[in-house]
């Protein structure tokens, strides 16, 4: 395809994509200046923004919280995803398989605000699941109090994404050469052995993809903590921190923190995008 045709075909996408890159560049530039709508004279302040950021205990807390969130979401999301996928993989009937996929997947089709409302009330001290815990004689849990709130929200995020991760693994499972599994059955292997020795080890790519995605979801976590608990210091993620600083018009701090987020994501995403290209090129 000639270049002039090529450019006219991709023009609109190109404009929108460049707008997004302009956003990255803007953050980079602003993080080195004292830019603010309240500020008549814009000056270059060098690394002061990043320096202030590192010294800000609230920033360090929110960064750490985001990283812990990512780690736990990756571990639990993969574990639960593999479990659900392995169980669904055993089912013969495509109808029942579809039914369970829908049940486990539906949270990703919901707004996080809706998820937050449902769980906010299940976590309610008086009107939530504590009522059930009481009835079966278990101790009550202060789900949303203090530091507990963080772990409760992490669990909710696992609940949201586990079905999606299960689908990624299921796609991998169905890609595995059936003859491998059949010959293992002939050799007398049981279901558990087939899953743990053949199917799951052959789905390494599912693990890479899930890990990249779950980490990105954790880095972007905003809707869930914000719409359930607003600016709660115990559930403040890095994006909530950026939003808060932006609303308070501390632009250089918000931008410096944005650059940190962009750097972390780029570190994950660029190798992943390159890998995707290689795969497409190999296919053709």
């Amino acid at each position: 395809m000639e270049l002039r045709y090529y450019i006219s075909f991709i023009l609109l996408t190109l404009i929108f994509t460049l707008l997004l890159y302009y956003g990255i560049l803007w953050n980079l530039i602003v993080s080195f200046t004292n830019y603010s709508p309240l500020n008549p004279r814009i000056e270059i302040i060098g690394f002061k923004g990043f320096n202030d950021l590192i010294l800000d205990e609230e920033f360090r807390g929110s960064l750490l919280r985001t990283l812990v969130w990512a780690a736990v979401l990756v571990i639990l999301g993969n574990m639960l995803g593999i479990t659900i996928a392995s169980l669904i993989f055993q089912l013969e009937s495509p109808r029942i398989r579809n039914l369970f996929t829908t049940v486990f997947m539906y949270p990703v089709a919901l707004s996080m605000v809706v998820v937050a409302i449902a769980w906010r009330w299940l976590f309610d001290h008086v009107k939530g699941v504590n009522v059930i815990l009481n009835q079966v004689g278990l101790p009550e849990v202060a789900w949303l109090q203090g530091g507990n709130a963080f772990w409760s929200l992490v669990l909710v995020s696992v609940w949201v994404y586990a079905g999606f991760i299960a689908m990624l693994y299921l796609a991998m499972f169905y890609n595995i050469d059936r003859t491998l599994i059949e010959s293992a059955i002939v050799d007398g292997a049981n279901t558990l052995q087939i899953m743990t020795r053949i199917v799951i080890p052959n789905s390494k790519q599912g693990f890479i993809v899930s890990t990249v995605f779950l980490t990105l979801f954790a880095i972007q976590m905003f809707d869930l903590p914000y719409s359930m608990l607003f600016y709660n210091p115990f559930t403040e993620t890095i994006v909530v921190y950026i939003h808060k600083k932006f609303v308070a018009q501390y632009f250089y701090i918000a931008s410096a923190a944005a650059i940190v987020v962009i750097a972390i994501s780029a570190f994950l995403v660029i190798p992943y995008a390159m890998l995707g290209i290689k795969r497409w090129v190999l296919r053709r």
Binding site: Y6, F9, L12, Y106, S111, W159, L268
Partner: protein, 278 residues
């Protein structure tokens, strides 16, 4: 064999209860009357079904529901169409230039969009000054914000979906002397059907559920349904029936789409995840 299958079904059903329970809670809670809400746990069924809350909230949500429809359907259509144009160009070009294009698009899609929205307001303000129109806190402005983020994503999805079309088809059309636009319209678009539907459904659900973009680009709660649902968190205090009713009403469109056309939505998710492995 039979026993094993039964055991697996039981394990799955127990696990599925955890997934059904919150949806059940929201549904039951939205059917409760005021007296019922004050005295009962959030997840119990109503003593008697009371539809007044649902109707009251539905009436209250009419404007944001209509606004969200007006904004998200054109955005999803535009993103899908523009995405298919890009996908075709990338597929036809197939060299370093198209590789770079795709990496640029992919990276911008996966970078957290929240941090790019602050400068986006600057862009919007710039356009406002230059063209002498209002975009901030308007539906076109919101649509522009959503389109900026979702068009590259739709392009990425379509680039993956287009690979199912055999190159011979396009080449034989070229031999027949058809131009690029004609090939795209007559040969490629008809073959892209399922990919177009997947991308459209995917972007429609995502933009319906998006909370951050309307939060930044509009004021008040009436321009987008997610904002409206959020407004009930603050104003209803401990009256969970109203919150649940708002959550239920706002979720019905994406949920119905997901259940009816779920395989298309899943295909979109998997394409983004596995990058066209299947």
């Amino acid at each position: 064999m039979e026993f094993k299958e039964l055991l697996i079904l039981m394990a799955l059903s127990l696990l599925a209860l955890l997934w059904v329970f919150p949806a059940y809670t929201v549904f039951m809670g939205s059917l409760k009357s005021l007296d019922d809400v004050i005295g009962s746990p959030s997840f119990t069924p109503p003593r008697e079904v009371d539809l007044t809350t649902l109707f009251k909230v539905l009436n209250d949500m009419r404007e944001p529901l209509v606004n969200t429809l007006i904004v998200t359907i054109p955005v999803a259509l535009l993103a899908t169409f523009v995405g298919s144009l890009t996908a075709y160009a990338v597929y036809r070009r197939f060299d370093r230039v198209s590789d770079i294009t795709i990496v640029l698009i992919a990276v911008s899609t996966y970078i957290p969009y929240q941090v790019l929205l602050i400068p986006f307001i600057n862009i919007i303000k710039g356009i406002e000054r230059y063209l002498d129109l209002t975009l901030f806190d308007t539906l076109p402005g919101l649509a522009l914000g959503l389109a900026t983020y979702y068009t590259p994503m739709a392009s990425l999805l379509m680039t993956i979906f287009i690979t199912v079309i055999p190159k011979d088809y396009i080449e034989s059309a070229l031999v027949d002397g058809a131009g690029e636009f004609k090939i795209f319209r007559r040969v490629v678009l008809p073959l892209l059907g399922p990919g177009l539907v997947s991308t459209f459904i995917f972007i429609l659900i995502l933009s319906w559920n998006n909370f951050f973009i309307p939060l930044i680009l509009t004021r008040g709660y009436d321009k987008h349904v997610a904002l409206k649902i959020f407004s009930y968190v603050g104003q209803s205090g401990t009256l969970y029936n109203e919150m649940f009713a708002a959550a239920l009403i706002g979720s019905i469109p994406p949920l119905v789409l997901f259940i009816l056309l779920g395989r298309y939505f899943i295909r979109g998710l998997l394409a983004l995840g596995t990058g066209g492995v299947r």
